[in-house]
Each structure stands twice: as C-alpha cells, then as structure tokens.
Amino acid sequence: MVIEPTFEVAEYGRWAVMRVTGEIDMATAPRLRQHVLTVTARKPDGLVLDLDRIEFIDSTGLGVMVGAAKRMRMIDGGFRIVCSQPHLNELFKITRLNEVFDLYESLEDALTTVTGTLVEGVPTDGAGNPEGAST
C-alpha cells in the first residue's frame, strides 16, 4: 500500500544529485539512509537532494537529511535540498531545519553556482547498483 520510494543519482560536475520519490517513513527511511551513505562515501563536492516529487516524508526522513548534512559537512562538501512543495517547506519551518539546510525552489536554482552538466543516472538500490540487477 506504500508508494515505494525510488532513488536516482545523477552527476553534475563533481556534485551528486539524488532524486527521491514515493513515501519515506520508518519503514522506508533505511533505504534513503543507505543511498545517502553510498553517495557520500564517494566524497562528491556536494550533494543535492531533490524532493520535488516526494509523496510523503515523516520525521524519520527529516532525520536522514540531518545525517546527510552532517556527512557532507564532515567532508567539507555542500548540501542542498530542492523542494517547492508548500507542505514540506512548512515541515522544515516547524522543525527549524530551514535554518540548517540550504533550500531551493528548483534543481536549476540549486546548481546555479556549480560547474558541470547533468549526467542522468538510473534508479539504484542502496548499494548503488541499478535496481533489479543481480549483485
């Protein structure tokens, strides 16, 4: 019954762009966390989490973002979130995470100061392998 989340990682120069869709709650947040760990382990210059097409996210999902921000800070990387959904922006305000995260209305805005071109990725499992591929 859950709208299963999908994760697609693209590259933009030395930055990683992770598009997340579907529902993130306590049942599915571990997958988001695993993707964040996989991407941050590659030590990109920055990470953009694109949440524009997310259906639902709870405090567990917000917590994973806090963890992602921490990991990127540890490697001196940038961390930006794309979100134009009013409800999600309201959640950031309520939790005051809008004062911790750099929030952008669009992916274009988030990448304005970054040099590169977008190289689209494919949906992946938590280990960075294409979904459905045998490992």
Binding site: M1, V2, I3, E23, D25, M26, A27, F56, D58, S59, T60, L62, G63, V64, V66, G67, A69, K70, R73, P86, H87, L91, I94, T95, R96, L97, E99, V100
Partner: protein, 139 residues
Amino acid sequence: MSEDFEIEIPPTFEHLAMVRSVLSSALEAEPILKEERLQDLRLALSEATTNAIEAHNRVGTQAAVGIRITVADKKVTVRVSDQGGGFDPSKLKKHPPVTDPERLEYERGLGVTLMRRLTDECSITPTKNGTTVTLIVHR
C-alpha cells in the same frame, strides 16, 4: 453525527502506509478537511503510530496497536493506543539550537514536535499498560 473507523495493526513499520491510507479513505467518504489539513493529520497520525510501534518493540510485545478515527461534523479525532509501557514526553531530550553545529548530531526526536504543531489539539495520556495519543484537527 459522527462516524468511527477502528483498526488494529501488528507492531511493524510496514503497516504505517496502510494506517495513513485508512485515514485518507475515511476522509474521502466525509471530506470535512481541506487537503492541506488532511496532510497535516496524516503526518501526525503516522508519527504517533511510529512511536506506538517503537514502544511495542522496546518492551517486546506483539500486541496490536489500536487506531480509532472519528469523523464528526466539525472535527476529526484520531486516537492511537499502545501497550508499550508508557511514555513521558517531558523527558524528551531537547535539541541544541539550530545555530549550534551539534544540532546535526540529532536525527531523531522531531515526531512529537510535528504532532503538536500540525494538529489543533494533541494530548499524550498514560494508560494502564501504555499510552494513548489523541490528535484533533478542526474543520
């Protein structure tokens, strides 16, 4: 006039989406809330149910978590009842200020804040074996 929807779920997180769906379905039949307020209540319900499941896991019980949704003319009331041994919200650890770099050490603990801020009324009541969380959103 009011209508009740009552469900019991096993204490596993895979049931969270179903709980949210039941609320949406209940309010499709009686659409008294605007979409934005429905989203608020869906999230608050999901947070309360998550806490209830965690409480059951903590004490090792497989007992069902009870959820009751009451749709009345002017408000929607949701009650989430667990048998997880009780919970004292006043003992929640406070997060450091957002300007403190240490804030990034805290990935959990936002659920109760969201429940309180997204509903018109939110109460957390100890019961004999656990806790009942009541969430109310007015029309």
